[in-house]
């Protein structure tokens, strides 16, 4: 699905990603954990193509294509989805109109005609039910006046609508109460399939109780320093990150 090799990226001349490697196969869920400032959100931004970051070295192959060569919109059209940590508000643009535009663009890229209105509306209805999003939210302006939880749910709703092959969840659990967390995770679980992969970035093990990952990676200082299964997340929860930092520094 995606193969990231020796990825180096910096912002304002400061290197954040320092030789990051990761292989994600179709259908797998990878969790990335790590202390603040380890580069987790930078990884998400670089993969999505945010231009503030400069990629200085490395290679990323996504669905057999050179990801780093593609514009952000083409990455999205190829099936890469980022659930934002801080979803932005777009006043006056309804969620429905926003998604219709996005889906039409993606379909056009794939040489498909726009969805018929009734098929589109049916899709909206089905996916709304899937992520337990109220009908009224879909008709409101994109994220405008949404609570923190509603914004995150809206991200999952968009993900369900766009049906990406790779979804990156950037701290989607931050700021969620336990009910919202359950709903968001429930949405993700319903979207898990053998041809869809996830990279779940989180600070807390809590989310991984609901979204059970195939692999857990610990990121520190711009690299993955430890890889394990879901038990590693539990270990981190009880022991914190300090032991990993020490291990890493000793290794150097």
């Amino acid at each position: 699905m995606i193969s990231i090799k020796n990825l180096h990226a910096s912002i304002d001349g400061k290197e954040i990603l320092k030789g990051f490697n990761l292989e994600v196969n179709a259908g797998e869920v990878h969790a990335i954990m790590g202390p603040n400032g380890s580069g987790k959100s930078t990884l998400a931004s670089v993969l999505a193509g945010r231009e503030d970051y400069e990629v200085t070295d490395g290679k990323v192959v996504f669905n057999n294509k050179d990801l780093l060569e593609m514009s952000p919109e083409d990455r999205a059209r190829e099936g890469l989805f980022l659930a934002f940590q801080y979803p932005v508000e777009i006043p006056g643009v309804s969620n429905i109109n926003f998604l219709k535009t996005a889906i039409t663009e993606i379909r056009q890229y794939k040489g498909l005609p726009p969805l018929e209105a009734k098929d589109f509306l049916k899709l909206v209805k089905d996916k709304q039910a899937m992520v337990e999003l109220q009908g009224s939210l879909a008709n409101r302006s994109v994220n405008e006046g949404f609570s923190g939880g509603e914004k995150k749910r809206n991200e999952i709703f968009q993900m369900a609508m766009l049906e990406p092959s790779l979804a990156i969840l950037d701290e989607t659990d931050s700021g969620l109460d336990i009910d919202a967390l359950r709903i968001v995770a429930g949405g993700v679980n319903k979207l898990r399939s053998s041809n869809r992969s996830f990279i779940v970035i989180t600070h807390y093990q809590r989310l991984l109780d609901y979204i059970v990952p195939d692999f857990v990676h610990v990121m520190y200082n711009g690299q993955i320093v430890k890889t394990g299964t879901k038990e590693l997340a539990l270990e981190l929860e009880s022991k914190g990150y300090d032991w990993i930092k020490k291990e890493t520094e000793q290794a150097i």
Binding site: E51, P72, E73, I90, P91, G92, F98, T101, A102, L162
Partner: protein, 483 residues
Amino acid sequence: MADILEEVTGSEYKYGFTSDIEMDTAPIGLNESIIRFISEKKNEPAWMLEYRLKAYSKWLTMKEPKHWPHVSYPEIDFQNIIYYAAPKLKKELASLDEVDPELLKTFEKLGISLEEQKRLTGVQSNIAVDAVIDSVSVKTTFKETLAEKGIIFCSFSEAVQEHPELVRKYMGTVVPYTDNFYAALNSAVFTDGSFCYIPKGVRCPMELSTYFRINASGTGQFERTLIIADEGAYVSYLEGCTAPMRDENQLHAAVVEIIAHKNAEVKYSTVQNWYPGDKDGKGGIYNFVTKRGICLEDNSKISWTQVETGSAVTWKYPSVILKGNNSVGEFYSVAVTNHHQQADTGTKMIHIGRNTRSTIVSKGISAGLSNNSYRGLVKIHKGAKNARNFSQCDSLLMGDKCGAHTFPYIEIKDQSAIVEHEATTSKIGEDQLFYCKQRGIDTEKAIALIVNGYCKEVFNQLPMEFAVEAQKLLAVSLEGSVG
């Protein structure tokens, strides 16, 4: 990433073509004999000539308003303008077949059909059109259909001939020739425009529209429009305008007057798309316009909706005098400036009657090196009990080389008034753009989406087919405003 908003490239003005039409023009310059020439060309009655001459002598004593509007442009040489230019027409056109085919082609190209069975822009609609090219109206459609209901919709010149009593009664009552420099100039040299009268109790069954086109080089267009809605009448009126791309600046100085009697309602929508000049600021129309309506009697309503995307310099304040009790005035505006364009636009709401209400929603969008100002006055006279105003002025900046300014004036002489003013300034966020792109939407489409969302409250006020046009126009105007 910051430079994504910086690169400013050219945008296409698709109405910039010129038409080769045989023209009849006045000698260049302005003096009494030019005014007599115009009046004679139009075969006007003596009272009209007298009105023009009075306006001219007043104008000679007036100064161009150059100090207060937030715009700058070189001195206009009023002696270097042709004040009358008309396509040579055969007398008394019996049918459309007699119109110069070149002229018909011009309007076809603009998407305006002068044939009644055809519909504007292909959308199922019912619109009567008055087409004005340079100084004269060339054709008014659906006149007979409208006449069955007693509605008069014709060119201003024709109204002077056919309905002099109405023209004399109302002309200059809302915008007197003494009003301002450009209103005085217009009153002296106006050439054509539309006249519309909706009789008592009639709801106009179709949209009425006037399409203004400046074609001839070196000319000014001085449009005069008068709309009267008698007791209980309703009309929705649309105005559109374009001009060829020329290196020179051309002057458009219009006067529009609206009168709403008891329980009457007039909705006036404009999509202003005069040639804005090229991306270096060369050429373009100077659009200095006085538009004003009066809610003369109780329970009347006047609503202005404007989408301003064109002109090199715009100076325009569609206003409402709320004289009748319970009368309502509305102003919805989207003003877009790009490249070197300058706009100083807004409204005046003058509350005189009791329980009068006004709403102002202004959305300014500045891009490139342009300057966009909102200038508004809300005036509550003494005795205007329980007057209410709500104003919302939003500015959207694209890039960091443009300017947005707000000059709201409020004068309240009655303590029972409630006046609210809200203003915001925002930038098209790179975060917003990135969010759209991450969902597969490219930059151009993302900007159109964001800007249309921002203007939604105003677009909602436009008639359907106009709203669609306006959205498209906005996308074209902002094309290339980000790299």
